[in-house]
């Protein structure tokens, strides 16, 4: 972001930011033309994983009965996800999934939060690969759980054949198949991706817009301050979107697992 | 007869705009009734929720048909 800003300040970069601005320069090998092996996005994902591992390990090093402040915070995060998402959606069987849901929730929340943390200012989830892979994991999870709980045939019969008279079943089965096995991973991935992509794009427009107006002419210069105020306001909105998307992703994964575990509708 | 006013381009969008008025109001009524009934009697929320979804499905179908027909027969009269 800052690179573009001062480039724009000298009046080189064109104002309306495009999709191209999401392809960041590669770090290793430094400055290589469109090699995306190790860019800021990859570095951010590694940082997020590192931070999560270190944080939860450190806060559980010597767990005492009377938790220290650090331990209490980690336990409250886990407790929130376990009670409000796992147990609330899946019932007593949900405790089994609570660790994964907590990791998923914390990872998505942290990677989303990179969108508004200075010096990062872009979320890895604005690249489709990461939400897509998280959606694939959730997809495989709920199918695997369903097959292990019900057995192969019964799971597909249970999820594909609704309780309806036999003669309209041929109409219903394709719809059930499409909405359970095609739309779920697709909507799960695209919802997170679109929110993060749009959030970054909006912040880019208002920030670079301010600089563009600054360079334009004397009349527009004061308006650029308005544009930057808008950026500040949108950053608070973006914070809400970040938390909401992390929560919705985890709740829907829990809902899909619950659907797979359900005995008979 | 000379043409007084001519609408060019796709009239599908206008059609969809009109088609969305009814379902919008209908779904609003369904959910407001559900919220009021839950406010009056919280424990009835689980029992009335299935009817909310029946109402929602039947009403929302009209709006979705509006979008679909807008694309299928994008009349460019």
């Amino acid at each position: 972001m800052f690179g573009q800003a001062n480039v724009l300040a000298q009046g080189q970069a064109e104002f309306p930011p495009g999709v191209g601005d999401f392809y960041l320069p590669s770090i290793l090998p430094w400055g290589a033309e469109n090699s995306f092996w190790f860019t800021k996005i990859t570095a951010m994902v590694w940082i997020a994983v590192g931070v999560l591992i270190i944080y939860f390990l450190a806060s559980y090093r010597k767990p005492q009965l009377v938790p220290t402040k650090k331990q209490w915070l980690a336990e409250s995060i886990y407790g929130f996800v376990r009670n409000n998402i796992a147990v609330d959606m899946i019932g007593h069987q949900g405790v089994r999934f609570a660790p994964y849901f907590t990791t998923l929730f914390c990872f998505v929340l942290l990677t989303n939060a990179f969108a508004i943390i200075p010096f990062f200012q872009i979320s890895p989830n604005s690249h489709i690969a990461f939400p897509a892979f998280l959606a694939v994991i959730s997809y495989v999870l709920f199918i695997w759980v369903g097959i292990r709980h019900h057995g192969f045939g019964k799971f597909f019969k249970n999820s594909l054949v609704p309780p309806a008279p036999w003669f309209i079943l041929p109409i219903l089965i394709p719809i059930e198949f499409a909405s359970t096995f095609l739309f779920r991973p697709f909507t799960l991935a695209v919802r997170l991706f679109a929110n993060m992509f749009a959030g970054h794009m909006i912040l880019l427009v208002f920030t670079l817009g301010g600089f563009a107006m600054l360079n334009a002419n004397a009349w527009l210069a004061p308006v650029s301050v308005l544009s930057w105020l808008m950026t500040v306001a949108l950053t608070f909105l973006e914070f809400l979107v970040i938390c909401l998307q992390a929560y919705v992703f985890t709740v829907l994964t829990a809902s899909y697992v619950q659907g797979a575990l359900a005995d008979e509708h | 007869m000379s043409i007084l006013a001519e609408v060019t381009g796709s009239t599908a969008a206008i059609g969809y705009g009109l088609a969305a008025i009814g379902p919008g109001i209908g779904v609003g009524l369904v959910f407001s009734a559900y919220i009021q009934s839950t406010a009056r009697q919280p424990e009835s929320s689980r029992m009335t929720l299935p009817y909310v979804w029946i109402g929602f499905a039947v009403i929302e179908a009209l709006a979705l048909l509006g979008i679909a027909f807008g694309f299928i027969w994008a009349g460019t009269a």
Partner: protein, 78 residues
């Protein structure tokens, strides 16, 4: 206030998911029904080249199927 009880939230596996989950499933059934049978109708259109009629019929059929699915899956009070 008449004791603000929280509506009994069993959340058991047999129970249908909370409101948010149901909302998304209801919408996905409707749109899914329309998309699947609309696409099949569109294929029939291109095959028999009946000019948009089969797609329309497919969309209506899919919508009807979607509604039946929502009623059957979410609309039968257990």
């Amino acid at each position: 206030m008449a004791g603000d009880q929280k509506p009994p939230n069993t959340g058991g596996p047999g129970d249908s998911p909370s409101g948010a989950g149901q909302g998304w499933t209801a919408l996905s059934y409707l749109i899914g029904g329309m998309a699947v049978w609309g696409f099949i109708g569109w294929l029939v259109d291109r095959w028999l080249d009946t000019g948009g009629i089969a797609t329309g019929v497919g969309v209506v059929l899919g919508m009807a199927g979607g509604i039946v699915l929502v009623v059957r899956r979410l609309g039968t009070p257990t």
